[in-house]
Symmetry: C2
Subunit: 337 residues, 2 copies
DNA sequence: CTGAAAGCGCTAACAT
DNA sequence: ATGTTAGCGCTTTCAG
């Protein structure tokens, strides 16, 4: 097990080989202006020849810029890694950052030792942070917004702070639209399977559903809590059906729950959309894997991530960034309604 | 937009407050032995009082240890972020590392500029790297194993190098077992929907299927390529059926493909498992979301990630680590067979 | 067991 | 346009 940690060539070596000072090499490496073209050439040649790669730690130490961004995911949220929405957001963040010189540090905030993550974040190890939280514990990061640039994915449950930047979709409006879609198709007994109630998205979608129903003068009593998973959706659907009241449509706060509801409906011998129309939220693989395929509200998940990264990078660069970036949603009509 | 980048207290401040030298503070921080208990107390008090957090860059620069680990994911593989298996592996890696002082740097290796990732890796920015690849392009990282500790998730397609460490499951054996399960249940016309052929897992599962069939003296001609997705599985199933030859069972190299195949079988009016038995691979959410639920080969995905992290950390610490870590698989019997 | 001194590799004024 | 001079905050011999 002998690995050749061949000591990397330093900036100084490059300077010697190119016959210039270290400052000049530094300038060339950092694409600073005012360097004679021929010198740039000479330096680059030397860099090439030596296979020089700048040492990040030294750079960070001297410049006070880490070129690193943290993606903070609370431990309990991390369990939802496989949730298509989260996965896509992370993918979007990673892709956008791959186009920059920023490095992405994935931070699973352990519940056991919250101080560890905070210390890391406050210790000047990153230039900014992204918070992706499923739950309301994101509250613990809001205050950090005063110490370094922070962008939240989805509005945090806690009070707003002026330094808090958020990327989100208008969940109330989107849910309301989905519900109206059902109403327009003549449904009157419209149920809702909620997302988690400790998440803004879950609460807002519930609000949107209720609003649309209220405006149409329809009853908004058929609600059961889900948890964004297929199993949770099926369980909620079962409770809904077991109430014994008539139901002719259901709006689930996620495709996964709609998928689970669909399965249960089939088991109970109910036809979709004939007996019950079903609409989901997300437009992910579950929407097209189900039979019938799901009508759903599409939210741009990858763009959700790129927008977060984009906002943070601009924030770090000292640019003006909107406190709230709202991404568009779109109703996708399929066979379940 | 004014953020208070309150300059963090340095080790020197702590030394002053505690009335000792910087060296001593450093020793305490690094839990070095031979420091008088009372001094340790004094220093810790000062650290507490000042809210001191060591500067990572300075530490790295001075000690030549980054305390960072890179998780490299080729761009094309990153598109499979939502694949439950990948998501779980990443989750496992992140969780295991969260228990250490290592930081996880997520590196999406851009196809456009492969040099960027390599430079980063070679530039002494990390103490070790983990490679998670869906495809055969992991070959480009095998040689880096000579410069720093590397652990692959799934055996790379390229030739082995003595410094290459791998965490994997025995795909040949597992696939063979799945196939034998079908044979034992009296099936004789057993088809296979492959994974990607440019992945070791895809190739090995095909080999295992063929081996079991050969040993039983059964024909191994019913093969169609899939790509690990539900859509790919459905398409492969369609081609299989369109051959017009009898089929009484199918082994799909992933639950997602089995799921897709199941949907297609239903469309064609075939009953599972009565007419056709179906077995998948992974045991993820698709296996329990499908109707009927899938019999499948379970592979411990989270442990896959923790094992990778574990091996790398030990490698970095200079410990002896097996070149190949094989994780156990298990047949999970459900309604589809 | 503790302190002094010398850097780690790079950037950033300040000169020139 | 380029070089000089100081560090950035920490670890690490080497003394004692």
């Amino acid at each position: 097990m002998s690995i050749d940690h061949g000591s990397a060539p330093t900036l100084e070596k490059v300077a010697e080989l190119a016959g210039v000072s270290r400052s000049t090499v530094s300038r060339v490496v950092n694409a600073s202006p005012r360097v004679k073209p021929e010198v740039i050439r000479a330096v680059n040649d030397a860099i090439q020849k030596l296979g020089y790669v700048p040492n990040r730690a030294a750079r960070t130490l001297a410049s006070r810029r880490t070129q690193a961004i943290a993606l903070v995911i609370p431990e309990n949220t991390a369990r939802f890694f496989a949730d298509p929405f989260f996965a896509s957001v992370i993918q979007g963040v990673a892709f956008r950052l791959a186009q920059t010189d920023y490095t992405l540090t994935l931070l699973i905030a352990a519940e056991g030792d919250p101080g560890k993550t905070r210390r890391y974040l406050q210790g000047g190890n990153v230039d900014g942070m992204l918070v992706l939280s499923h739950h309301n514990d994101d509250a613990s990061y809001v205050d950090l917004a005063g110490r370094l640039p922070v962008v939240f994915g989805g509005r945090p449950m806690s009070r707003e702070s002026e330094n808090v930047h958020v990327v989100d979709v208008d969940n109330i409006d989107a849910a309301s639209r989905a519900t109206r879609h059902l109403i327009e198709r003549g449904r009157t007994r419209i149920a809702h399977i909620t997302g988690r109630r400790d998440m803004a998205a879950g609460i807002d979608r519930l609000t949107g559903w209720r609003r649309a129903l209220d405006e149409a003068g329809l009853p908004a009593e058929l609600v059961e809590d889900g948890d964004f998973t297929p199993e949770g959706g099926a369980a909620a659907m079962r409770r809904l059906l077991d109430r014994g009241e008539p139901i002719d449509a259901v709006f689930a706060a996620s495709d996964q729950m709609a998928f689970g509801a669909l399965n249960l409906l089939r088991e109970r011998g109910m036809r979709v959309p004939d007996d019950v129309a079903v609409i989901g939220f997300d437009n992910n693989s579950y929407a097209i894997s189900s039979r019938p395929e799901l009508t759903t509200v599409e939210q741009p998940s990858i763009e959700f991530g790129t927008a977060m990264a984009e906002a943070l990078v601009r924030l770090i660069d000292g640019e003006e960034v909107d406190t709230l970036t709202l991404l568009p949603t779109r109703l996708v009509q399929r066979a379940s309604t």
